[in-house]
Symmetry: D2
Amino acid sequence: MTAETIGLGVLGAGRIGQIHARNIATRIPGARLAALYDPRPGVAEELGGQLGGANVHGSEEGLMADPAVDAVVICSSTDTHARLVEAAAAAGRPIFCEKPISIDLETVDRALEAVDRAEVPLQIGFNRRFDPNFREVRRAVEAGEIGKPEILRITSRAPSPPPLDYIAVSGGLFFDMTIHDFDMARYQTGAEPRSIYAVAGVRVDPRIGEAGDVDTAIVTIEFDNGVYCTIDNSRRAAYGYDQRLEFFGSKGMARAENDRPHRTTLSDESGVHSALPLHFFLERYQTSFRAELQSFVEALGSGRAPEVSGMDGRVPVLMARAANRSVAERRPVSLEEVDGR
Amino acid sequence: MTAETIGLGVLGAGRIGQIHARNIATRIPGARLAALYDPRPGVAEELGGQLGGANVHGSEEGLMADPAVDAVVICSSTDTHARLVEAAAAAGRPIFCEKPISIDLETVDRALEAVDRAEVPLQIGFNRRFDPNFREVRRAVEAGEIGKPEILRITSRAPSPPPLDYIAVSGGLFFDMTIHDFDMARYQTGAEPRSIYAVAGVRVDPRIGEAGDVDTAIVTIEFDNGVYCTIDNSRRAAYGYDQRLEFFGSKGMARAENDRPHRTTLSDESGVHSALPLHFFLERYQTSFRAELQSFVEALGSGRAPEVSGMDGRVPVLMARAANRSVAERRPVSLEEVDGR
Amino acid sequence: MTAETIGLGVLGAGRIGQIHARNIATRIPGARLAALYDPRPGVAEELGGQLGGANVHGSEEGLMADPAVDAVVICSSTDTHARLVEAAAAAGRPIFCEKPISIDLETVDRALEAVDRAEVPLQIGFNRRFDPNFREVRRAVEAGEIGKPEILRITSRAPSPPPLDYIAVSGGLFFDMTIHDFDMARYQTGAEPRSIYAVAGVRVDPRIGEAGDVDTAIVTIEFDNGVYCTIDNSRRAAYGYDQRLEFFGSKGMARAENDRPHRTTLSDESGVHSALPLHFFLERYQTSFRAELQSFVEALGSGRAPEVSGMDGRVPVLMARAANRSVAERRPVSLEEVDGR
Amino acid sequence: MTAETIGLGVLGAGRIGQIHARNIATRIPGARLAALYDPRPGVAEELGGQLGGANVHGSEEGLMADPAVDAVVICSSTDTHARLVEAAAAAGRPIFCEKPISIDLETVDRALEAVDRAEVPLQIGFNRRFDPNFREVRRAVEAGEIGKPEILRITSRAPSPPPLDYIAVSGGLFFDMTIHDFDMARYQTGAEPRSIYAVAGVRVDPRIGEAGDVDTAIVTIEFDNGVYCTIDNSRRAAYGYDQRLEFFGSKGMARAENDRPHRTTLSDESGVHSALPLHFFLERYQTSFRAELQSFVEALGSGRAPEVSGMDGRVPVLMARAANRSVAERRPVSLEEVDGR
């Protein structure tokens, strides 16, 4: 805990805020947990106590003004992200913000403009880019090990749907779930999407349909470097959290399989049985939650740009918009069509 | 070689004809190689000699009239299939016909009508249905082991493109290569396609594009039982013949991986190295070529309908037509639109 | 069936004789099924009929004297092997003989001397050397891919014990089952065993113990090139025929896993389920039965020595003898101690 | 950091002491890092500072007398273990002690008697029992999923030998490395060894032989419940830390494979390439180091006996002794022979 560490102030001590705060306090070299804020009485105090102490503030502004806070980590509810990004930018604080900034494109753009004006670093919390499996695929692709990239297949299925009341405010499948896959597709291809075709429907739970959403989808994306990408999504996978991808190119294929809790198999007269994939995203992406903040801290320390930029936060919102329009109009939709700019 | 075996007459002793003839002569219980015909002088004689003898005929009609021939196996070039199906039907002979009957829908329909009128059994040579991996998926699906089927993903990539002069007469990627995947999708789902959306382009070899064809494609199919299916195709896979699928449903997923020539791995300081998939379709589908004829012979013996019907030969032609139109018009195309009926 | 093919006469049309005869008749280029003999009336005639004809003889001597017989394949009961080897050697015929020549060392030596005097090629039927998995391990070892070989682990477990009346005449576990693993160890190491330590007991069926045999064993072998080898055996494996090995050296490890009937997995809420290993040795070693005869025929055609020599038939008998003495005396036993020479 | 947590005092802040201290401070619910001691000036102070503070003592006795210390964690050099165990017992403190207590059996026994007299809980640091892969095997065995256990195979190979000066004081391969496998064999079987046969030699580095040690070994153990166990060891594995086992029984087999840093494979024209096993024991056993202390803390909290007892620390020492004698005398050695009791 020397003066050289970067003091992080965490806004929001909910599920993801606690994870980030705990990682900062104990597992991220070069960082320290400087401050906490949560609107619920006592919550920040309790978390701070468990983690060896942090300045607990009574307001977001208080935290941002705390001289111990070198950068802010925004983990509050989605509808507050854009406002807090703008406030942090105004306070001149580097920002790590959970995804998405907003599902409203104009709100996103206003926040990004504030960041640009303030010239503060901003990293969006697309943590899956830091998953060791996916990162190894990207490394192989960048190293030319698959040759010229051609076909990207992403499978992304959750173990079970979120509560119905969450569905209602989630922004819909494409904004809430596929948005991670949109980001993954951009990360893996290093390219920009041109057009999107999506089919989607209700297969898991009719009440999801009654809430105006879908739970199963197939998306086809054409990228401007010639890569074709397909994504398949389901809100339910009986066998656990299914997060795989494969990237095929002129010289070969890189393929990321699911993590499992152990590598023990049982052979008996009925078959050879292996462990299911990790069931919960907090387990599966445990490493990536830590690694993304580590990367943010290192970016601040070294002066390089954060690995996930504001634009990386903006484009997936456009893609979700295009996917929704594609389903509604049963045709491929170009990104230009849905971009307000 | 008792009187109870079924005598098969093979029309065409090219690559696939030789495989079928050899299997019939030595590895298909209940069948015998009764007769052979090939337009090239001496070819049928030589093959017959290698296989312990068969009646070699100087014309297709001669073979069909041979009383030793209980059923015909049509392995000649694609443009002769429909004509020979009609002739065999007229001769009252059960028919095994290599796929496709024709890439022209009207020609297909005329041949199927002849078969219907003659009331002879007809099996189309979609051999992949008999591959042990894919068959096990279908078994699991039919047994309810994945619950209600929802998403089918098919990967089908050839090790390398066929010769350019073949490309020119192949009918194009969808009729020549994807047609197997269209059949597989119908086999696995047990359902009928409603609409198809396809993107396709030239990624492997620009000369394929100059020949008016594509070599890389992504196809999305909506089936009438609610299953979404995606297919990805490439005319080239550096690592071998890539033929996989996975079928996802409400209770789980069945997943067919590639066959390999052996199960030995090498671990050294650079990694753990496994064998590539079998490289050539004759190796990969060796079992299925034998099993499809075995099934045909058993169908004839028992009086049950062949496992792959004339309609199973027709619908993939429609699907290829729809895929071509989808690429041309950049929109999903319903099967009805392309059906001349 | 040209004059250049090698005519093989098969002695014994039991289970393994039928396999060899069928392979010779249909699947081994360069060979033809010239003649058959079986002591049971009508058996050879029926098999010959199924396979397109062969000279059926009324005696072993008759077959050996048949000018159409270029070489003999001895598939009769084990107690006749040595006698027939000697007779075939006297008749100047190259010999393929199923393992073991005899479980009596003196009888083995007498037969091998007859072969040496007659200077006829002899191949012993240790077919597992021709299994694609094990062969790939040996290829890697010979190519230096594991560096200097150090530790060889062989797992060899049968799905279920043979009938008790067979156990009684089998010669015991080491002569009947482990003998294959002894051969495999010599094949993989390319070296000679120095000493053997074995523990063994009855774990599968007490009646095997009552018959004076064991059903479970662990064997440790020290080879003269410094390799340590361990073998574990069981007469019963609930999950199928378990035939694996791994060879560890200074630069890496080659590892052969079991073959499976298909590569389809099922993921459901209880786990990820794969197919069991092939259950029966005739399925697992189908390829190797064919390949060993192919190799024999090619050796005869090219004049090179057969791949599995008479000495390869002798040493495993010595090893089984040493293993039996080790169990009895609870100490390591050198090969010299048990060699009558 | 409430009063209900258990205060742990760590003796020794070397490699393993730092791991334990860090885990206690940040990742073990119910525990707190109360105190530290290291004989090297400033080392404990620095570690304590990094971890948010702990009472740093100038002597082992000082730490043991600290009222904030509810239990001690002995991570000092092996030659001090027994003395510190006795001192902690005298101080009435529950003890977690790194393995081995001593390689001298009499010293072990004296320490265990002190623990017995003081009636303090003692847990030995055989952390591999807490590895998720091995633990899953044991779970399956205890649940009866493999039926009656019969054959246990353990592979344990280090990526590279330790420094030669460490070899000289290590006690030799069996005491330093195989001792973990001896413990694993007892853990998995839940039984006691009766006799041991070992072969061992120098394959990795002749200087290890010059130092009077071996680097490669095969051990066969007969357990009193009828299980046969084999262990193979090497001080060097080019492909990483190789820690696997399989347990075979009447109904099936449980098999633990190596952990890998990711699950991404690359398929190219030369093969399918997977990641190597984790290379370093601190990575491979990261989870188990944490879990063993967690288990210790829970045992103290609940009053149940620790999972790895003093006797679990004693028997592997006997086993290593028997293995050494077996190699020297080239015969199986019973445990009774080497037990001073």
